[in-house]
């Protein structure tokens, strides 16, 4: 049994509840013990340092300290949470001044951080700690014949000086996972590009064109579904897909699935319980394709 302090992030607890639910489901199946962190705050959505750099240090230093107190590493399911917590972690480990001022704050709330926590995203926790072989053994459904476009997003890859899970120039984590589940990874250029989420409220046309063009490229490569490890990418790719289609003037209709949902399918999860009906773009076609493998 592997145990993590579980940091789902805000979106997975609100508009993207299906992500949280499904993560808990697959964790159970894979013998991952997720310890909730009800005291943890929002990481700041990847932009809080633009408000105040120290605020980013303090609130995330607190989250790290909470995990350290439990003696656990943190597992995330959101790219941006992963990067933000990792950035602060690196800063506190490498910069004595930052650590000192953060600990001065933490001392007032009965906490202390000493740099022992590791931050892992679900994808790489499964690859490195659970093992893809282990996952394969537990799979009860096959994704054979399903063409799956991996969409990494940014913050799980870049900057590679902070998030060191994969080869930033040619990541393989998602492709390997798809293959383990017997699906066919679709190769396309925009798999490592930006979804545009951070400017969706600033410049919607520009922002959604990024997601839109990635979806379009994957569609052209005959993807059945796109998988993403990040709920913010998911918002851009799924929730905004209709807006994106209008903005780039292309027909778009590609189901977007959260990473744990994809794994959940293989582990025999119930589609309704995994929130498959909560997506903007229907997942029915994908479900149908998977069902063929079951007949």
């Amino acid at each position: 049994m592997i145990t993590y302090a579980y940091y789902p992030g805000c979106v997975a607890q609100e508009s993207g509840k299906e992500l949280d639910n499904t993560t808990k489901f697959i964790a159970k199946k894979l013998d991952i013990n997720l310890i909730p962190m009800p005291e943890a705050s929002c990481c700041g959505g990847g932009v809080i340092d633009g408000f105040d750099e120290n605020l980013k240090l303090f609130i995330n230093g607190r989250t790290l300290a909470l995990a350290e107190k439990k003696g656990l590493d943190i597992m995330t399911v959101c790219n941006t949470c992963t990067l933000t917590l990792s950035e602060v972690n690196e800063e506190l480990i490498n910069n004595a001044e930052s650590l000192e001022k953060t600990n001065a704050y933490l001392a007032q709330i009965g906490l202390k951080y000493s740099g022992k926590v590791k931050v892992k995203h679900l994808l790489y926790a499964i690859r490195d700690d659970v093992g893809f072989d282990n996952l394969k053994q537990k799979a009860v459904r096959s994704l054979r014949g399903v063409r799956i476009a991996p969409f990494y997003g940014c913050h799980i890859l870049r900057p590679s000086s902070i998030v060191k899970f994969d080869d930033v120039e040619n990541p393989r984590g998602l492709e390997e996972l798809i293959k383990v589940l017997e699906g066919e990874p679709v190769s396309y250029v925009r798999r490592t590009k930006c979804c545009g989420f951070q400017t969706i409220l600033v410049n919607e046309a520009a922002s959604t064109s990024l997601a839109g063009n990635a979806i379009f490229e994957a569609q052209e490569k005959e993807a059945d579904v796109m998988v993403t490890p990040c709920p913010l990418c998911h918002l851009s790719l799924d929730t905004y897909q209709t807006v994106a289609a209008k903005n780039i003037n292309k027909k778009l209709s590609l189901p977007i699935i959260h990473l744990p949902q994809l794994i959940g399918v293989a582990l025999g999860g119930d589609y309704a319980e995994m929130g498959f009906s909560r997506h903007n773009i229907s997942l029915r076609s994908v479900m149908a394709k998977i069902r063929q493998n079951e007949i």
């Binding site: 805000c10 979106v11 607890q13 609100e14 508009s15 993207g16 009800p38 005291e39 705050s41 929002c42 700041g44 959505g45 990847g46 932009v47 809080i48 340092d49 633009g50 408000f51 105040d52 120290n54 605020l55 303090f58 609130i59 607190r62 990067l83 704050y105 007032q108 709330i109 940014c154 913050h155 890859l157 870049r158 900057p159 590679s160 930033v168 120039e169 040619n170 250029v189 590009k193 930006c194 545009g196 989420f197 951070q198 400017t199 409220l201 600033v202 410049n203 919607e204 520009a206 922002s207 990024l210 063009n213 929730t239 905004y240 209709t242 807006v243 009906s277 909560r278 997506h279 903007n280």
Partner: protein
């Protein structure tokens, strides 16, 4: 070892559309991609066009996409690329019009550099040396203005923005520019930050930050981190941009949606510990923003995706309030 170079070719005079041409070369220890291109050009095919100059990673001419990533050809060695990709595939930079082969149109990029007013503004506080410029007479000494090292922090370090060589690797990789051709991009904004941090600058009215807050500028950064990741000089434009954000907000230059967005997130965390998506959307775009996003909100709502209007507080919320209090952020 023999290896293959696959090069993007396009000459608008002769070609209807771009194509790739393969060349086979023999490598030598330490061979760079630029060495490879030069030997193709001088020995095999003189029609291949690319820019190059210093061959030591300081002039920024030979930026191009090597196996999909914007790099300087002069400092990219053939060996490791072949090891990883089995081939050297070369394309022109992205986000810029292609003139021919690997040569892209750079004028737009340089126009954007010009747009940020890349020079010291206002009446100089360095002393009017131009007016009293003179050659020293025998025995004469000159006095110089005093600036301490601490005043030049962020300007004299190894990874600081003045080291930027304007090679356009960041611009080519920038998600913001891909989505919006009018966005200034990382290099220009990093330069904006560089001048805003200069102790000799006398921009009393905050012109830089006000101009920088207009559409297509600092708030259009998508935070994709590609500029930092792929900068061949180890600079992080995105960090400069975030510092610009912080500087603008601290100076109450909040008129842009981007600033409102961040303030709203900070407010939401300060009140509940979490991020209130609806409230943030409302604060950012105002009422118009919400109306324009209604189809989305409505669509999401049908699926039960509209998040709760009022978040419940995280446990130990007073910890977070204390952080805001210590940092004196409560009023903002």
């Amino acid at each position: 070892m023999e290896f293959k170079v696959k090069v993007y070719r396009f000459n608008p005079e002769f070609d209807d559309k771009p194509y790739y041409k393969d060349y086979v070369l023999e490598d030598f220890p330490g061979m760079t991609v630029l060495n490879a291109l030069i030997s193709i050009k001088s020995e095999i095919d003189g029609t291949l066009s690319f820019r190059r100059s210093c061959r030591s990673a300081i002039c920024g001419s030979c930026a191009m996409k090597i196996n999909g990533i914007s790099k300087l050809a002069c400092k990219t060695q053939v060996g490791p690329e072949i090891e990883k990709f089995g081939i050297i595939k070369i394309d022109p930079l992205s986000n810029m019009p292609i003139i021919r082969d690997l040569v892209v149109e750079q004028e737009g990029f340089f126009d954007k550099i010009k747009e940020i007013q890349p020079y010291l503004m206002g009446k100089s506080n360095v002393g009017e040396h131009a007016d009293d410029f003179h050659a020293l007479k025998e025995g004469e000494k000159i006095t110089q203005p005093v600036f301490f090292k601490s005043e030049f922090r962020n300007l004299t370090g190894n990874n600081d923005t003045p080291n930027c060589i304007l090679c356009e690797c960041c611009y080519s990789e920038c998600g913001g520019v891909t989505g919006n051709k009018d966005y200034l991009g990382p290099a220009a904004l990093a330069k904006l930050y560089r001048y805003s941090e200069d102790p000799r600058d006398n921009d009393k009215n905050g012109t830089r930050l006000v101009n920088g807050s207009k559409p297509n500028r600092m708030w259009d950064c998508v935070h994709c981190q590609a500029c930092e990741e792929f900068c061949p000089k180890g600079i992080s434009p995105v960090k400069s941009i975030v510092k610009l954000h912080e500087k603008a907000i601290k100076n109450s230059i909040n008129f842009s949606n981007g600033a409102k967005h961040i303030i709203s997130i900070a407010k939401s965390i300060g009140e509940t510990g979490g991020l209130d998506e609806i409230k943030v959307a409302l604060d950012t775009g105002g009422i118009t923003g919400l109306i324009s996003d209604l189809p989305m909100a409505f669509g999401a709502g049908l699926k039960g995706k509209i998040p709760p209007i009022r978040l419940k507080l995280i446990k130990d919320m007073e910890d977070i309030r204390l952080a805001y209090k210590i940092l004196d952020l409560e009023e903002k």
